[in-house]
Symmetry: C2
Subunit: 270 residues, 2 copies
């Protein structure tokens, strides 16, 4: 079986404790440089592959400090502290120009205790009843996913809408080609959202992700159960002002289990 592009792209080489060499992937490109979700997954991979790692991912924050160029990068990780229940990591991604992104990762020991899901998956028709979005030459990462919009399909004409539209989008998403879900693909999928300015205004002001936080609610069993079936993705926003806005996301399993949620902060110029 061929290596999936995500696994090919994330094949990091260890050259010391907490020192990893990687390379951006042509399959996961953005308008300029790599797709942020790929960088998030690369940070996560460097810890998952580390012999010191215990438990499963709980929280990942990636801060994008500077533009990342296509090509080689180095990830360094520091295990800040490991206890019985949690492990805390601090990470940096560097290129020749210096540090380009930083991250913190919390891993946790999962155990069966009191469980309660408060949030509810929105109602949506079955994924295969919906048309898949056409591929997008400008954004390579869009080709790496199959997106089927339920609500708020983007309009790429770049023409400002007459009236502001809803910030909320609902769509199905899965890797293309399909790939069994794991924490790495979940990390990448958490950035698989068009920025809110496009959905609300219809326009493309200069904009980019500044900070990306993902909370992994899923247990390994829940990921296995989902396999390569499409996830239901919900994106929304609370406020855009003063050159920054938030973006709230949720990723749902077919059976209504919330697998991940998160928030990103986007900078925009106009």
């Amino acid at each position: 079986m061929d290596t999936h592009p995500l696994d090919g792209g994330l094949a990091l080489e260890c050259f010391g404790q907490g020192e990893w060499r990687g390379k951006t992937s042509p399959h996961y490109g953005n308008m300029i440089g790599p797709f942020g979700g790929f960088i998030a997954a690369a940070f996560l991979k460097s810890v998952i592959d580390d012999k010191r790692r215990t438990g499963h991912p709980v929280a990942l924050t990636v801060n994008f400090c500077g533009s990342i160029a296509d090509g080689d990068f180095i990830i360094t990780s520091k295990l800040q502290r490991g206890g019985k229940y949690t492990q805390h990591w601090s990470l940096e991604l560097s290129q020749e120009a210096g540090v380009r992104a930083t991250a913190t990762l919390v891993f946790g020991a999962r155990a069966e205790v009191f469980e309660h899901q408060v949030a509810k998956m929105p109602k949506a028709p079955a994924a295969l009843k919906l048309v898949a979005m056409p591929k997008n030459a400008l954004l390579k990462w869009v080709d790496a996913y199959e997106l089927r919009f339920v609500e708020g399909a983007p309009d790429f004409t770049g023409k400002a809408f007459d009236h502001l539209r809803s910030a909320k989008t609902v769509f199905y998403v899965r890797d293309d080609p399909p790939r069994p879900l794991d924490y790495l693909s979940l990390a990448a999928l958490s950035d698989c959202f068009f920025l809110r300015n496009l959905h609300i205004r219809g326009t493309f002001p200069p904009m980019g992700t500044v900070s990306l936080t993902t909370y992994f609610h899923a247990t390994p069993e829940e990921l296995n159960r989902q396999g390569n079936a499409p996830l239901l993705a919900v994106g929304d926003c609370k406020r855009l002002n003063g050159q920054f806005n938030d973006q709230q996301i949720e990723l749902w399993a077919t059976d209504g289990t919330l697998l991940a949620s998160g928030v990103q902060v986007t900078w925009y110029k106009q």
Copy 2:
């Protein structure tokens, strides 16, 4: 005028570039050790006081690696990268036992551009029509705030509820004694929530905050406008499972402006 306990507690002493000496405050204690919101504010203070700092806070993530003892601490900060629009900082808080907390901070240049608030403040009676919560001897930080519950007042008997209750809480909160709102108090206020397990189940399993992220939507003008009037605070949760749960928060100005939002991850044992 007397120094406010928050300002007294946050009086950090600089002993080198990005090197600060601080002390926990008896006014901001938790069940054990300091209130997390105080630590968040201390991290923020170390950057606000730094000569290299430009812009205003946009995003703050604090990861609590190990229990913080009452007493002295050291904060070290590294300016990872500063550009025209954003500044990225990585920080560590250490005590004799080693690194106890890490943080990342994004500062941003605010400018008047397209603005749109999507989220809406929940309806609530005026703050002064509601009874202030009694002080709480177990949790010193509760004494440092005036809390008036609109919805979901906590029950401290520790007896499990017959039925699970709503995860959502709505309350007014302000510093006690009152203090004009600024980014420091906003950072502390973002942790001013009782953990969701208590609200949902009525019980106190062993639990603690693992990661605390705050997004600052407010401009300096909006903070000034609010002054020392109570903020409307909304807390909620998406999912509790496998020893971890999220907590979603919003802090609203009297005029309906969303000043801050955020998410924390809590560990719980049973």
